[in-house]
């Protein structure tokens, strides 16, 4: 009888932990740190970035618009 109760409790705790970790991880996806924000702002303003951009075009790259972007 004790063994069945233990199994029940274990299964319930396991399911709860699984659900909690799933939703916490999902929530974490939406959060950006300050560092991430500053990196994105830097990329947006053209301060850095790995993309090399050339030609007058419509592709947004390093704060301007270019025809083609490739890896530097």
């Amino acid at each position: 009888m004790k063994q069945i109760t233990f199994k029940k409790a274990f299964a319930i705790i396991f399911i709860c932990a699984l659900c909690a970790s799933y939703f916490l991880l999902k929530e974490g996806k939406q959060n950006f740190t300050d560092l991430t924000f500053s990196n994105i702002e830097a990329l947006a303003s053209g301060e850095s970035g790995s993309g090399a951009c050339f030609g007058a075009g419509s592709l947004s790259c390093n704060g301007g618009y270019y025809k083609y972007i490739y890896n530097r």
Binding site: A11, K29, I40, A44, S50, G51, A56, S58, Y70, N71
Partner: protein, 349 residues
């Protein structure tokens, strides 16, 4: 034993609810196809370097030049095409624009322009003598939006494209303060956390909004994905074309395009959605560049969908175009051509 079954079912349901399981309907072809020949509009002035957008209202045509060195916007009388004035001076000064990314011609006293580098939107009005367009109000957008490449002025504030990849649209109040966010990028792939801003960059879309119907349409610049958001009945429709969703490589949080150039403009009327489609691969663009060839820039197709996203007609054009304005009453599509010294074209549909 039954507990293990429950655990397996739970894991299964969690996996099935994750983003990677999403699958959106495809269109393959259009039931009708029609060739259109352009009538070239001859302008007296040579103003343009890269005429990207066009909008016509109340006898005035406004053209946005993405790369102009003096002014980003130029106004003409319509249909006479007589030059009126230019506005939106390029520069670093307080009333000047670092970039022009988008504009919305609502009425003669409500022309909204967007400068993504300053994160500033400005409302302009046409003065009564019709030869001057002046700024009326300026709104600095919330810095937390980081960057906005497309927008639409709403009654409650602004609808703005999301730059961070967390959501699809962001909403601000009239002062530009971010209030809330809606929807998510409709990708079928499962990307890591670090890729979200790069994903948003790859999913950069052009949009148009029909206020009476409350319908927003978005078309991706890369790949071939069309999104329709009906804010009235809160439905969302996503349609992938044969080229699928945007393809890109990730390099240091940036999205580098690897697939095709997709749509370059989208326009919604009360009955249909019109989208300019390029379909040119970046591999071809790269090879042309390496050969030292100047490749045509623009799309030779206008795709027409109904408001549910079902394909209706495909127009095949004799010129490559970028931006469009559609007038169904007169059966006219005006378009910009970035390859020619005669950059305005008119098509009869």
């Amino acid at each position: 034993m039954s507990y293990y079954v429950y655990i397996v079912l739970l894991i299964g349901s969690l996996v099935s609810c994750s983003e990677s399981s999403r699958h959106f309907p495809r269109y393959e072809d259009f039931p009708d196809e029609k060739a259109l020949n352009a009538q070239v509009i001859h302008l007296d002035t040579a103003l343009f370097r890269y005429p990207f957008r066009i909008a016509v209202k109340d006898g005035i045509a406004i053209i946005m030049d993405l790369h102009n060195v003096d002014y980003f916007f130029h106004a003409f009388s319509y249909p006479e095409w007589e030059y009126m004035t230019s506005f939106g001076k390029r520069g670093e000064g307080p009333e000047e624009m670092v970039s022009a990314d988008c504009f919305r011609f609502i009425s003669k006293d409500s022309i909204w322009t967007l400068d993504a580098n300053k994160m500033r939107t400005t409302r302009w009005k046409i003065e009564q003598n019709m030869n001057n367009i002046i700024p009326v109000e300026t709104i600095d957008m919330d810095k937390r939006l980081v960057r906005a490449l497309d927008f639409y002025p709403m009654e409650s504030g602004f609808l703005v494209s999301d730059y961070l990849g967390e959501y699809r649209q962001k909403w601000t109040d009239r002062e530009g303060k971010w209030i809330h966010s809606t929807n998510q990028i409709p990708t079928e792939n499962n990307y890591e956390d670090i890729a979200r801003p790069a994903l948003a960059q790859a999913w950069r879309s052009f949009f148009d909004y029909n206020p009476p119907k409350g319908i927003l349409v978005m078309a991706t610049q890369l790949g071939e994905a069309l999104e329709i958001y009906n804010f009235t009945d809160t439905t969302q429709t996503v349609r992938y074309g044969p080229n699928g969703e945007p393809q890109f490589a990730i390099s240091r949080s940036e999205g580098i395009p690897t697939g095709i150039m997709g749509f370059s403009d989208v326009h919604i009327t009360d009955h249909f959605i019109y989208a300019v489609f390029h379909g040119r691969s970046f591999k071809d663009i790269e090879q042309a560049y390496l050969r030292g060839e100047e490749m045509e820039d623009g799309g030779r197709y206008i795709y027409v969908f109904d408001l549910k996203g079902n394909p209706v007609r495909k127009y095949v054009l004799d010129h490559a175009i970028y931006g469009i304005d559609v007038d169904e009453d007169t059966g006219t599509i005006l378009a910009t051509d970035v390859n020619s010294n005669d950059p305005i074209l008119s098509f009869k549909i």
